[in-house]
């Protein structure tokens, strides 16, 4: 996930710190992204999942959490609505994302590193003295103004908690909180747009007018990346023969086998197998690569099951005539997927097409991406709607499914045949993945943004409520 291999430190020459010292942090439920303002990709990308050892120690970062260890539990600080639940961990994770790759860990001040302490008779050092005043110097981000993104539906309490952490734990000199939809629009140089952000836990819709978020337009639905993973799991289970989902860590070596034939691989033997949560995380990685290389959205017009022409032929029948795509599991088991590779994504647009099992209920018609886009549009002034329809921005890593932009465009145009509908989806997948970060990077390096920061002094004077006034 990280943009630079974890073993390689970013070159010092790449820093734009001389001009702009601001940091941008875009925390998501799937990954946490951070970098310096003015740069076009986040230098630091860390999975939001973290590991917990039985001792209670938390492990962050790709290297730590993907290594099979007995008793390593995988957790995520977000709740199912995409809002931070475990604040303590979230704060640590965010701090790790910034300090591990960008600012460097703070140095222990000489007065505290133990080398300069006068020892008493027992050889113990006196630690209490001077702690108060030292506190100030120890905060990790004292030199860096910080721009953070948040989900549009972040509750007031959580917003205040965020500024508190930034100001008090990290000691930032200035802070700002922006909606991630708003930032994604800025990354495309748009101040007026309807942003559709397909992430891991949620797909959200945000209307932006002249740079200001229209509060009544805000919508979100759980039909997003993780939901799609569940659809694929059900499809795998119902496939003939069922598709065995085997993550990489279980396989020691494999030999090629024919399609649908049992795999011929040596598996790793664990005295105590890794936890279910670990296995789930690793399975999701396989599913993500399946989404990346196999899954495709029926591009429209119409649904997968709507008639393609006279004579009872549906779009699905047409799709069946296309060559199927192969996929190989880490243990060598492989098969091809024809209609199924379209069917798994169809539920995002047509709730009746969703796969269901005893754990996964059929979504309601209100929850499809098209319905939430429509609800958002209905909540804004009539005169604004054609403008927004002409500037629909698609962002988020979950939107990287093949032909998804085309389908979104076709379905919205079918709903509004008259005005001109235009879906803008950056063809560069990095830009699409990091839309909110890139927009934040642009915003924080604009001279005109300078007036917007909440400074440390202002925070001291007004308290955490200042985010409600300043960051609308």
């Amino acid at each position: 996930m990280a943009t630079i291999p974890p073993t390689q430190a970013p070159g010092t020459a790449e820093y734009a710190g001389d001009e702009i010292g601001a940091l941008v942090l875009d925390p998501g439920s799937h990954s946490t992204r951070a970098g310096f303002a003015g740069e076009d990709t986040p230098k630091s990308v860390v999975p939001t999942h973290y590991g917990v050892l039985p001792t209670g120690e938390r492990l962050f970062g790709d290297n730590a959490i993907h290594l099979p260890k007995a008793d390593l539990e995988i957790k995520n600080p977000y709740n199912s609505d995409g809002i931070v639940e475990d604040w303590e961990t979230a704060a640590k994770l965010w701090e790790y994302t910034i300090t591990s790759r960008l600012t460097g860990a703070r140095q222990t001040p000489p007065s505290k590193n133990g080398l300069n302490d006068a020892k008493d008779e027992n050889g113990d050092t006196n630690m209490d003295e001077g702690m108060e005043q030292l506190e100030e110097q120890e905060k990790p981000l004292q030199e860096f103004p910080l721009l953070m993104s948040e989900p549009a539906w972040n509750p007031a309490k959580e917003r205040q908690k965020t500024i508190e952490i930034a100001m008090e734990e990290w000691g930032v000199p200035a802070f700002f909180l922006a909606k991630n939809g708003q930032l994604a629009a800025y990354s495309q140089s748009k101040a007026t747009a309807l942003v559709v952000d397909i992430g891991a836990l949620n797909t959200s819709v945000t209307a932006l007018w002249d740079g200001m978020v229209l509060q009544k337009s805000l919508q979100h639905t759980p039909l997003a990346g993780n939901w799609l993973n569940d659809q694929i799991r059900i499809m795998f289970a119902n496939n003939q023969p069922p598709v065995p989902l085997v993550p990489h860590y279980m396989v020691k070596s494999k030999t090629p086998v024919d399609a649908n034939a049992p795999s011929s691989a040596t598996y790793v033997h664990f005295d105590k197998p890794p936890t279910d949560s670990f296995r789930k995380l690793e399975e999701e990685r396989v599913l993500t690569s399946f989404k990346e290389s196999v899954v495709q959205v029926w591009q429209g017009p119409g649904r997968l099951d709507s008639p393609a022409s006279q004579g009872g032929v549906t779009n699905g029948d047409y799709v069946k005539s296309m060559p199927p795509k192969p996929f190989e599991m880490p243990d060598g088991w492989n098969t091809v997927f024809g209609l199924e590779r379209f069917k798994v994504a169809e539920g995002l647009f047509d709730h009746n097409a969703a796969y269901t099992d005893d754990k996964t209920k059929k979504p309601s018609g209100e929850q499809t991406i098209i319905s939430v886009v429509n609800k958002a549009l209905q909540a804004v002034d009539v005169d604004a709607r054609p403008v927004l329809l002409n500037n629909i921005i698609l962002t988020g890593a979950g939107s990287l499914i093949d032909k998804l932009p085309e389908r979104l465009q076709a379905d919205i145009q079918a709903m509004y045949p008259n005005p001109r509908v235009r879906v803008l989806a950056n063809s560069n997948s990095v830009e699409r993945k990091y839309g909110a970060f890139v927009g934040g990077s642009v915003l924080a390096s604009l001279g005109s943004f300078h007036q917007m920061w909440v400074s440390k002094e202002e925070y001291a004077e007004h308290g955490a409520q200042i985010v409600d006034k300043r960051c609308k």
Partner: protein, 395 residues
């Protein structure tokens, strides 16, 4: 904003041939902007250069200001309280005067955007007039005052209802519009080609030129205005559905045909002189006397004249023009020719014969064109008369 650090650039190395020696520049690091509380931007610049200021970006929209007494005296409205009026003005300010955002943020759901606009404009009008009495307003001020006063919320509401209906027009209605537009396109193209036909004919007849467009769109003026309006509206679309018609964009180019328009320069010059002899190489047809040329029927192509490509026979020049696009036309031509005694087969296609035949054909075509136009005009007259008759009957 004070310099925090100073640096001197490396002393200029003196190269032998360097003529100009610049004094070393001093650079200083400053934090820029007007917010000393936000030490955000650190910036190296030449010493004593001006620090950029971002204060200019802090703009607030102008709002009417009034005291509580002024409110009591001039601005009271049974539907509004002083508090809500002030809240409206604060919201307007907070949203930079963008009504789309104001209605979004306004915390009283029962108010429509038109209510808010009506109230805000009414207050602005009153305050404007209190500040500058109407008699002493400048023209732009008065215009502003009138616009503010004339805001009609009811009309706005019904306009919005229409706009909403327009957004949700059905697919078949949109398709129908596309068909109608195509039809209009065709009508306009036909009008245009008929127009140019007439123009052409009049030129051939050396008709005294009328100084206005000779064809009066007496009843189609509205159509024309509509056309213009549609074309202008269409320009804003990316996939345009209408193409302008008019001189320079005659009917042929609308049908997308460019046949026979290949530039002459793009073709290799052929050596056939357009009559009987086809000379294999250009070198061999030089050195012929005027008399020989006449004898062999050779004509020279002047510079800039265009020749059709390939081989053609002189006899073709006497037979091909007799055949028109339509059989009706061909028959008409044949009838005229036999009437004036031109035989079907002319034995010797010499240049003078061809020339005579061509001039005859030119006249014949003029005649036929005139007849065509006369017929068209007659037809139109009959239609107009029928229309007039129908109108009279209706009344």
């Amino acid at each position: 904003m004070a310099a925090t650090e100073r640096r001197t650039s490396a002393p200029a190395r003196s190269f032998k041939r360097a003529r100009v020696s610049r004094p070393p520049a001093h650079w200083e690091q400053t934090s820029i902007g007007d917010r000393p509380d936000v030490p955000l931007l650190k910036h190296w610049q030449k010493a004593a250069a001006q620090t950029p200021s971002f204060a200019k970006y802090k703009v607030e929209p102008e709002v009417p200001e009034f005291s509580d007494e002024q409110y009591e005296e001039h601005l009271k409205d049974p539907n509004w309280t002083l508090e809500e009026t002030r809240y409206l003005i604060e919201t307007y300010k907070g949203c930079n005067g963008k009504w789309t955002v104001i209605i979004d943020r306004y915390e009283k759901p029962e108010r429509t955007m038109e209510d808010l606009k009506a109230r805000f404009y009414a207050i602005s009008a009153v305050m404007l007039q209190l500040e500058t009495p109407i008699q002493s307003m400048t023209a732009p001020q008065y215009k502003m005052y009138e616009t503010l006063k004339d805001f009609n919320p009811k009309q706005e509401m019904s306009r919005k209802r229409l706009a909403e209906g327009h957004l949700h027009r059905k697919k078949d209605e949109v398709d129908e519009e596309a068909v109608l537009l195509a039809e209009l396109q065709r009508i306009m193209a036909n009008q245009e080609s008929l127009d140019s036909l007439r123009e052409d004919l009049r030129k051939r007849l050396d008709y005294p030129k009328a100084n206005t467009n000779s064809y009066q769109y007496s009843t189609s003026q509205a159509l024309h205005a509509l056309w213009q309006q549609l074309v202008n509206a269409d320009r804003l679309r990316k996939n345009q559905r209408l193409r302008p018609v008019g001189p320079g964009q005659s009917a042929t180019s609308i049908e997308g045909s460019t046949s026979g328009q290949t530039p002459a320069s793009a073709r290799p010059r052929e050596s056939n002189a357009g009559t009987t002899q086809h000379e294999p190489s250009p070198a061999s047809n030089t050195k012929l006397t005027e008399k020989d040329k006449r004898r062999f029927g050779i004509t020279e192509v002047g510079p800039g004249e265009k020749l059709p490509s390939g081989v053609s026979f002189a006899s073709d020049k006497l037979s091909k023009p007799r055949i028109a696009k339509s059989t009706v036309q061909t028959e008409k031509i044949a009838a005229v020719l036999s009437h004036i005694g031109v035989p079907d087969l002319i034995p010797l296609p010499t240049p003078p014969v061809i020339e005579a035949f061509e001039s005859l054909m030119g006249k014949l075509h003029t005649l036929l064109d005139m007849r065509k136009v006369a017929e068209k005009e007659e037809q139109e007259l009959r239609v107009r008369e029928a229309e007039a008759g129908a109108q009279v009957k209706e009344e």
